[in-house]
Symmetry: C2
Subunit: 278 residues, 2 copies
């Protein structure tokens, strides 16, 4: 649980004292872990964050006292989160924003035991979270408009792209898209149409440009594909073979390479898009 | 119908005289059309192709005489293609490669009227085809291994990425992936979860890195999403609203911008990947 008040970013006017980060985490040797690992995730541009200024709290009560934002990134376990928020609510300031980075447990379920359900929403980052601008903001029906707006403003001011998801749909949006793609990819591998490493050469295009014309031209083929869609389920017999192929194709993921390439691509995309709009 | 023998690329040793391009096309003022439009699709690096050297054939018989490769890019109509290949077979050299760029009609169906079905396969480019390295090679069961190998060698030597698709699956591979993604995207828009323009901000990640660990961690959520998958069909009532939103979000697609950005991203990706492997 953290208050993400990165010093290298401009403080917001309505959160004037936002300049501290407190971490509560039950892992042993937390301070050492953070000192060893956190610097890896920042580029030169953002390295003015001072790890020495991070405060480590011994209890949840201690961690949430006097803070402006509480970011929960605990285990994906409903009763854990329900218990946590009930406790947080008792000790945090009444106007603190309450954010969960869950990828699957809706705010409405997490808030079940809370007195005031208007302050909690899901703020779900996309992998790798220190690079990808996307954040899915998924409020419950009880989350107040003001809380959504303050959350959007916080992240927009920091150059991120917060998307307000209008319903607590299973898996939110980005993962649903990725999983639809993944299911079809697995089906094709399972049927022997292509191998895992061949699939990786195919960078499927996104972006429905000229959508109406697209469907006029090849809507028939699209429907044919959909009618013929693969049926794959987690835990079925495809797993062993596909996991094996994936291991052979990739080995251990090189995180540094992934980060470097993702950064470069995003930089170039921003640079090129600014040329068009100027 | 063309013999794609681009002068700016290295001729292959087994095709030593590959230095001419002949186009057969029924559109009026073909020569003028090509002179006006073809240069747009080449960068400085590839501009040594001489449009003056392109030959325009008046008949199919004339077009295919003495050529090494025949690339068919005609209408997506089975009987048209069947008639065409029957005629081509009678007039082309016996060792010429026969390629169709269809996005949906399998080589096995196109070859139905041919005497020798071993020479024909689908060579399906991805949009925009003058930039995207991907080519799906989709042979029928009758296509010979030698024809597949010659086709792979031709494109590999030109820096393209030809993927051998092992079965004539509906829609091949890249489009099946894109359409699975598209179906889910349409479902989410139709249900009011996000708007078309918000969806465009979400660049869903691909690449199943660490697949086994991924499923161990959040396989439950993946299965939940799949169980809850959207059901959308071409021609249903979603079309009008979604097409309208797409028009408002994008207007007319800026092809120059699309090409410039796609080129830059591919350049940067290649540059960064070469750093890792070196």
């Amino acid at each position: 649980m953290t208050t993400p008040t990165y010093k290298y970013m401009h403080p917001l006017s309505h959160l004037p004292h936002l300049s501290h980060l407190t971490i509560f985490d039950t892992r042993p040797n937390l301070s050492q872990y953070v000192q060893e690992n956190l610097p890896k995730f920042f580029t030169h541009q953002t390295s003015s964050i001072s790890i020495a200024d991070i405060r480590f709290a011994a209890t949840i009560e201690n961690a949430v006292e006097g803070v402006h934002i509480i970011q929960e990134s605990g285990p994906e376990n409903l009763s854990f989160k329900q218990t946590l928020w009930t406790k947080v609510e008792q000790h945090a300031p009444v106007d603190a924003l309450l954010w969960s980075s869950t990828s699957g447990i809706p705010a409405s379920q997490q808030a079940a035991g809370m007195q005031d359900k208007t302050r909690l929403l899901v703020v779900h980052p996309y992998n790798p979270p220190h690079i990808m601008p996307l954040l899915e903001l998924v409020p419950s029906r009880d989350t107040s408009d003001e809380v959504i707006k303050r959350t959007q403003a916080f992240w927009t001011a920091r150059g991120r792209v917060p998307i307000h998801i209008k319903q607590e749909t299973t898996g939110f949006v980005a993962n649903r898209l990725a999983f639809a793609l993944l299911r079809e990819a697995i089906h094709l591998v399972k049927e022997g149409v292509v191998s895992v490493s061949e699939l990786d050469e195919i960078h499927a295009g996104g972006g429905p440009a000229g959508l109406e014309g697209f469907f006029k031209n090849i809507g028939g083929t699209v429907q044919d594909c959909w009618n013929d869609a693969g049926r794959v389920n987690v835990g079925d017999e495809w797993e062993e073979g596909v996991f094996q192929q994936a291991k052979q194709a990739y080995g251990v993921v090189d995180i540094e390479e992934r980060d470097r390439i993702t950064r470069r691509l995003l930089e170039v995309l921003a640079e090129e898009k600014s040329k068009t709009s100027s």
